[in-house]
Amino acid sequence: MNDIAKITKSDVNVPLPGGKRKKNRSRVSPSFLQKMIAYARGHKLFMVMVVVPSALSVLYFGLIESDIYVSECRFVVRQPERKNLSSLGSLLQNIGISSVREEAFTVREYVLSRDALKIIDENLNLRKAFGSSKVDIINRFDPLGIDDSFEALYKYFLGQVTVDVDLTSSIATLTAKAYAPNDAFNINEGLLFMSEGLINKLNDRARKDMLSIALKDVEDAEAEAKNRAMALSIYQDKEILFDPAQQSTMQLQQVDRLQTELIAVRGQIAQYREFAAASSQIRALEKRASELRKEINAEMAKVAGGSESMSQKLIEYERLKLDREFSEQKLAAALTSLEQARAEVQRQQLYLERIVMPNTPDSAIYPRRFLNILAAFGMLFIVYGVVKILLIGVLEHHE
């Protein structure tokens, strides 16, 4: 301001605050109030542009403006598999394209969405919290009662809630501002809780998507294995056979025994023929031998050849058994892939971890009253200076 004062005095006779001292020295008598009024008359521009707005700003920032309470929490969205890709270096390498920390950004977008606001508003009645008459008229939601639509509330809400995601640590900071400590805490806690819900929902959907195919495979394999096993047992039941291989072994042993006997009988017959050709025993033995031969043939037919033989049954039996084994292997494979899918889901599971819980503020950190007043003073002086210099610049063009 000194500069302007100097310029003014040298160039044009526009009264400025700097000129005050001289007047005071020359005239001593008038009262303080009179002096003030005289001063105001002499410096209309200064009064209008600086003094009055300054007084208003002191009034507003110092007395009227409501306390703002801030509740803050920090959280991180984690995924076990994902690596930390982001540092400033890699960020600058592929400017803007890298979409790291997308999960945290998902949460941010959700928190700052109409969906989230709707639920929060239903539970906390934000219109009442932000629009109550305790809140000063400039900060209040819908101060004139003109527009209390949801869109207006949403716009207001975006000014009250911020989510910042740190790209290097991927820690998100959620802050909520309100005019009462409990409101700030409730909004913050509510949003955080809903964010957790969102993450769980995303996980559920991912799990469902990823597991549904594997689960279906397992179901199919299971049904097939059951069918095969059933078919085999039905066949066994029908043909009255338990284990064809073992059964045929038994039968072959029978044949073996019969054959041994047959050989013995034949030996006897030969002996009789040699030494007692007229013996009646020969006939009896021959009869026995033919019986045995018949028996052997019958037994052999059961094991092999003929439509009812064991080997015939074995063909069908082996086919069914093979089917069953295949279906069992298929089921085992399906179960393994299901297990793998489960593990995959587990690895891609998102976690929202609360690092710092939402706090209930015990004192208002905003507004910064003194700083605001100071800033208003500064700006008013600057604006005044600009206007003043421009005016002086114009007035220099005298005739």
Binding site: G96, I382, V383, I389, L390, V394, E396, H397
Partner: protein
């Protein structure tokens, strides 16, 4: 300086100033087109050539930045950058070049600067209007919030004007003035936010970057152009306040220069 005559009213003085400025403006135009046949035209399209060359370069190298068409991204950044820098560049030597005019009683240093800056505002705004044909041929979608684009452009012009006042005063006041001005101008390649968005920076460093007022203007313009496709960080209040402070600084420096000029004359 002649003695002050108090009879002149404010409106009369204002009339005189406007007359002086418009005469200066006409003089500049004639001087430009007189020198080289198409000088005036060249001056008007000079920033335009810069911006379109850059656009073509970016268009050929990369198609998108993030999810934003690169031409629009480059346009928004470079328009802001050249909007600031051209005013500084052209206003720098305005006093030195027109020193002889100051012998006229009515012509003041501030008038010289005003005339030159009005011309510059016109020429840079024409390059800014390049957006129109680009939008028309479909390289860039119509701005989501056109008013933000316009406001940010006005803020850029204001900022450039303030910086022009500052640099031209420094040029006249300080011996090393020219060097200082060049440093300031080179600095403005980086502090206007032409090449990147604040969102790409880690949150801890965003605050420092946002100290530069033109970063706000660039962000605001991109918010206007792309809407929800980008996350813009800016504060209109900060930008306006910073511009105000710079304007004040510039005007004070101009006063200093006028006084100095007066002293030089008397010597």
């Amino acid at each position: 300086m002649p003695e002050t005559t108090q009879q002149t009213t404010f409106s009369r003085a204002f009339q005189i100033q406007m007359r002086v400025v418009s005469a200066l403006l006409r003089r500049e135009l004639i001087a430009l087109s007189g020198k080289k046949g198409i000088g005036f035209l060249l001056m008007l399209v000079e920033p335009l050539i810069f911006v379109s060359a850059i656009c073509v370069f970016f268009y050929l190298t990369r198609r998108t930045v993030g999810n934003v068409p690169v031409v629009a991204f480059a346009m928004s950044g470079y328009c802001v950058m050249w909007g600031c820098r051209f005013q500084m560049m052209k206003m720098m030597n305005v006093v030195a070049a027109n020193r002889s005019l100051l012998y006229h009683r009515y012509v003041k240093i501030f008038d010289l600067m005003l005339g030159r800056s009005i011309l510059q505002i016109c020429s840079t705004s024409i390059s800014f209007l390049m957006f129109a044909p680009i939008i028309y041929i479909g390289l860039v979608d119509f701005p989501v919030k056109p008013y933000l684009v316009v406001f940010s452009w006005l803020a850029v012009l204001w900022y450039g004007w303030s910086l022009g006042l500052i640099t031209s005063s420094i040029y006249g006041l300080v011996k090393m003035g020219e060097k200082i001005c060049i440093v300031i101008m080179v600095l403005h390649i980086w502090i206007t936010g032409a090449f990147m968005m604040v969102e790409w920076l880690p949150p801890d460093y965003r605050g420092y970057y946002l100290l530069f007022p033109m970063v706000h203007a660039t962000e605001m313009m991109r918010d206007g152009l792309f809407g929800n496709r980008v996350t813009a960080h800016y504060s209109v209040l900060y930008m306006v306040c910073a511009n105000m402070v710079l304007t004040y600084l510039g005007l004070v420096l101009v006063r200093k220069l006028s006084q100095r000029g007066a002293m030089d004359d008397s010597d």
